[in-house]
């Protein structure tokens, strides 16, 4: 990568810059003629200088070449022009003027567009190149640089470059030319005055850059400060648990504030200096006219200069500052951008970067199939020069299961990372099936081997995408584009080519089914289920599927399946011993296991925008329904009674009692307010209270569940009135609110509710012992019977895992990572404490099932629990970076060697 900004610009945009140059010169010429033309219009056409008599004509567009005097001064008429009278001549000239305006505008438009493209292309190239470098950094680099800082550099710091690149060569060339012309003009007019102008400009050129030096330092500091700030913000966000756990939020506030203070100080000085320089610059350029008037005036009085020349010189000098000013501005911008460029490039320059060839895209590299893993004299030097791994040599067959044991700092993690070629060994070889892995490209190492670390990373996509992630090495099946899409694709492709970006199509199908042992998407799904079972994740995914609400339009056949399952559940619920476990929704009945709000809506709100189930009483339409059906009064009375009961029950409790959280309809903080409302009701009567009090009381009963709260406040007559309101609500629902709710309908699928709710179509009854477990079992049975399990699991695979997989538990995250590695059937599976976060019993089961699934295929597993090594055919025992002993666990454990020592201490 070019160290200097101009090296970068010249190398990649020289041709395009040169293409703009003629346009700029053409535009300049036109501009000058535009300045000249008004003179002709006024003097010749309007004032009629060239029309001494009314019948006189003037040749318009005459083309004539006159040779200089030295060559004889002969002139050749190429085109005689059109003979025009005064008025037509005026028209001709003014229209010529208009044409020039249009042509100049068009040229400017073209120049600006080209400059913009040029800049954007260079920006794209730079960003891509920087990102490419991130992917080629050695792992150790990531320990020293914060991810947020990398992102800021690529995103923000190089941004001004785009604007600058378009101007980088053209602007200085142009303005220098302009300045030179003016300077030359002045010198030509009068030598002394010219020298004065030159001296003023020269002093500007010397003094200003000197003053700028400090600016350079400052803007470097400013950039660094801004980058570190974004790094710090990301740090605090990542470590927010520690911040709260240790009450250091104010320490962090102070730290960031101090940082902002330093940045303010830098910016403050920066502004001050910037404007100071501007002031000096202006002053210097104003000194010019002062000297001209003084010296020029003296010369005129002394009779050594004619006044016309002086005026011309002053006019020419007046034109001089503008190109000079532009040049100075350009220089300012150059410095700024150059600093940014150099700083960013410095950060992205690493000595031991992976060569680009190592990551070259390959469709199907030759992968090791049989043979052995041969490690010889493997060594790794630490950052401080110590040897983390030293002289490790062993050989195991590609069909063997190997446990790697060692106490803390024995070098187990380093060894596994080197085996997976994530870390390049300092010396020695790792050979897999005859291929030297230390020299093989990533297309081989990343496919022949799979690595799962102690806390694997999941991308914030669905579970399925995370599992399939390991199969995306190369676009295997091209996407066919047509019409508009094809044009867009070709455009993108040609742009990518221009900026040396990758030409691989992101939208193609990258999934390598064969690597997973499948030939189609359907088969891949089967394989996914298989590996999920191996890591005991299938049930979890199935549960996630049950708890998802999905749009039936995206899952053909789902709605019918769900309705069949609903029917099957209904039949079972009618069977012996099952009655009353679930109270199903019935349009004609009040559901005593649902809240009053749910009973009223009788549907699932879609989002919270139209109907928020938590705040239904505040909804305008709901209020109208309540008023129109006369339910408002009932609710007010019920709310009043409820408030009385709550106050009676909860008043005696000490503040902060957990009952408030668990049972009350009223928050503890609101209790005094409710008491006050009750007091006002006692004074004024229920029908004379204020609106605010009324609203508060009316909102209370909405969360009441008759069967659970057993307050006896909703009798059958009240229920009947709620049913009436329910019908009224549905019938009069305004058209624009229809999209806000999906009503319960026993004959149709509800896209807003979860699959489980859809299938049960009701509420689990409270008061039935172990109802939830029994229903869960019933649900499983029904779905198995109807063969819907795969479909539900497939929906569960669409579950979004969140940032870093945060929506999954840490053990489920590890399971997904192991499944991802298993899915692509690598020749060597390397796991470093991959199951350590799991509980003991799960670890036992998963180690066994993974080894079972990998029968006849190589596994290296760095174990935290030594006893698990018994299940492996071979054991490596590491001790302070060296391979202390190897063999069968059973033989080693009582041989008096390193393993026995390890077992007795650990």
């Amino acid at each position: 990568m070019e160290r200097s900004l101009f090296g970068f610009i010249l190398r990649y945009s020289r041709r395009e810059q040169l293409m703009i140059l003629p346009l700029v010169i053409a535009s300049m010429l036109i501009y000058f003629s535009m300045l000249d033309l008004p003179k002709a219009i006024i003097n010749e056409a309007i004032q009629g200088k060239r029309f001494p008599v009314p019948e006189a004509t003037v040749a318009f567009l005459k083309v004539q070449i006159t040779l200089p005097h030295i060559l004889g001064g002969a002139s050749v008429q190429l085109f005689d022009g059109f003979a025009l009278h005064q008025l037509p001549y005026l028209f001709a000239l003014t229209f010529a003027f208009l044409t020039l305006i249009v042509v100049n505008g068009a040229l400017k438009f073209q120049i600006n567009t080209m400059k913009g493209w040029l800049g954007e292309r260079m920006l794209r190239r730079l960003r891509y190149a920087l990102f490419d470098r991130i992917l080629r950094f050695p792992l150790a680099r990531f320990r020293r640089v914060k991810s947020a800082e990398l992102a800021t550099m690529i995103k923000d710091e190089v941004e001004p470059l785009g604007g600058f690149v378009g101007e980088s060569l053209i602007a200085p060339t142009f303005y220098t030319l302009e300045a030179f012309t003016a300077m030359f003009f002045i010198l030509y007019q009068h030598l002394y005055l010219g020298l004065i102008a030159l001296a003023v400009v020269a002093s500007q050129a010397v003094i200003i850059p000197r003053l700028r030096r400090r600016l350079l330092v400052l803007s470097k500091e400013r950039q660094l400060g801004a980058r570190q700030l974004s790094g710090r913000i990301a740090e605090v966000a990542d470590g927010v648990i520690e911040v709260h756990a240790h009450d250091t939020s104010n320490y962090e506030r102070a730290e960031v504030s101090a940082r902002l203070g330093r940045m303010f100080r830098i910016r403050f000085e920066l502004y001050q200096r910037k404007f100071m320089i501007k002031f000096l610059n202006n002053l210097l350029s104003q000194v010019g006219p002062f000297l001209f008037y003084l010296v020029g005036g003296y010369l005129v009085i002394a009779g050594r200069l004619d006044i016309g020349t002086l005026v011309a010189v002053i006019a020419a000098y007046k034109d001089l500052p503008s190109p000079i000013k532009e040049l100075i501005d350009w220089d300012q911008q150059r410095l700024d951008v150059q600093i940014k460029y150099t700083q960013v490039v410095e950060q992205f320059t690493v000595d031991d970067m992976t060569p680009a060839e190592m990551q070259a895209p390959v469709a199907a590299p030759e992968l090791p199939a049989a043979g052995a893993v041969r490690v010889s004299n493997l060594a790794l030097a630490g950052e401080a020069g110590s040897k983390l791994i030293d002289g490790v040599t062993f050989e195991v067959g590609l069909d063997q299961h190997v446990a790697v044991l060692g106490s803390h700092a024995a070098g187990v993690a380093e060894l596994t990372q080197m085996l997976a070629r994530l870390v390049m060994p300092s010396s020695g070889r790792v050979e897999v099936g005859g291929i030297d892995m230390t020299k093989a490209p990533e297309a081989v190492t990343g496919r022949a081997m799979a690595y799962v670390g102690p806390s694997a990373y999941l991308f914030p996509t669905s579970v399925r995408d995370n599992l399939v992630y390991g199969l995306k090495h190369y676009p295997l099946r091209e996407r066919i584009y047509e019409g508009q899409e094809l044009a867009e694709y070709e455009f993108q492709r040609s742009e990518a080519k221009r900026t040396d970006s990758t030409l691989l199509d992101y939208n193609a199908d990258w999934t390598d089914y064969r690597a997973a042992g499948a030939s189609s998407r359907e088969e891949l799904d089967l394989r996914i289920v298989e590996v999920l079972k191996t890591v005991e994740l299938e049930e979890t995914i199935f549960e996630l599927g049950l708890r998802s609400s999905v749009d039936a339009a995206n899952h053909p056949g789902l709605a019918e399946s769900v309705l069949r399952a609903r029917e099957a559940i209904r039949t079972r619920l009618a069977g012996p011993g099952m009655q009353g476990l679930v109270e199903q929704f019935d349009a004609e009945r009040y559901n005593r296991n649902a809240t009053l709000a749910e009973n009223l809506l009788f549907g699932t709100p879609i989002g919270k925008k139209t109907f928020d189930i938590e705040n239904l009483a505040g909804n305008e339409y709901v209020r109208r329904v309540l008023r129109e059906t006369g339910l408002a009064d009932d609710l007010l009375k019920t709310g009043h009674k409820l408030a009385e009961t709550m106050v009676e029950l909860f008043s005696g409790l000490p503040p902060g009692h957990e009952f408030f959280e668990r049972f009350s309809f009223i928050k503890q903080d609101d209790l005094p307010e409710v008491k006050a409302v009750l007091g006002r009701v006692a004074d004024a009567g229920l029908d004379k209270i204020e609106d605010a009090d009324r609203d508060l009381l009316m909102a209370l009963p909405f969360k009441m569940i008759s069967a659970r709260h057993r307050l006896g406040l909703i009798d059958e007559a009240f229920e009947a009135r709620i049913l009436q309101a329910r019908r009224h609500f549905a019938e009069h629902l305004p058209a624009q609110m229809r999209g806000g709710i999906e009503f319960f309908d026993s004959a149709s699928y509800n896209g807003a509710a979860t699959l489980q709710d859809n299938i049960l179509f009701g509420k689990v009854a409270t008061g039935q012992a172990q109802a939830s477990t029994r229903i869960a079992a019933m649900l499983h049975e029904v779905l198995d019977e109807l063969k819907l399990r795969p479909q539900v699991a497939s929906i569960g695979l669409g579950y979004q895992v969140g940032v870093g997989g945060a929506r999954l538990s840490s053990s489920d995250r590890q399971k997904v990572a192991i499944a991802r590695a298993l899915l692509r059937r690598p020749a060597v599976l390397i796991l470093d404490q991959a199951a350590a976060v799991l509980d003991g019993a799960s670890q036992n089961r998963i180690v066994t099932s993974v080894l079972e699934a990998r029968k006849g295929r190589c596994v290296f597993w760095a174990l935290q629990r030594n006893d698990l090594a018994e299940r492996f055919g071979h054991t490596l025992v590491m001790e302070r970076g060296r391979l202390a002993e190897q063999g069968r666990f059973a033989d080693l454990k009582s041989s008096g060697g390193a393993l026995q020592k390890l077992l007795s201490t650990g």
């Binding site: 005696g652 957990e658 057993r710 012992a769």
Partner: protein, 151 residues
Amino acid sequence: MSLEQEFELIRRVPIFSTTDPAMQKLLAFSSDRLTYAEGQTMFSAGDPPDSAYIVMEGEVDITVPTPKGPLLVNTLTRNDVIGEIGIFGDVPRTATAVARTRVEVLRISRDVFVNVIRGNPDSAIALVKILADRLAKTTAQLRRMAAETSR
């Protein structure tokens, strides 16, 4: 199914009879009313204890697993409390409870129960009384069994 009914019941249960009415009401409100079918197991010996029960209706058999099979130690009826040992002892269930008939119970969760006892010394004494009674009964049973085996 009304809170009033359960409130009445709780007032008659010895442990809670001395607590103040607001607490009794709260207890009724915060507990769950559950129905068990005949023969259904409420909990088994070894389960983690999470709640205590007050029998409202029906009969519950309490058995202890022995090498010779389950041994019936008690049959509880209306107003009896089941499972309070586990709550305070922090040990797995010592016995198995099975509904002999259709049973209706009031389930009081562990933390609610502990809270009530903590706030009412009288309830604590009532609880100690029950436990003492039970210990005496068990001791007597043990003595009888020892006599039987030595014979």
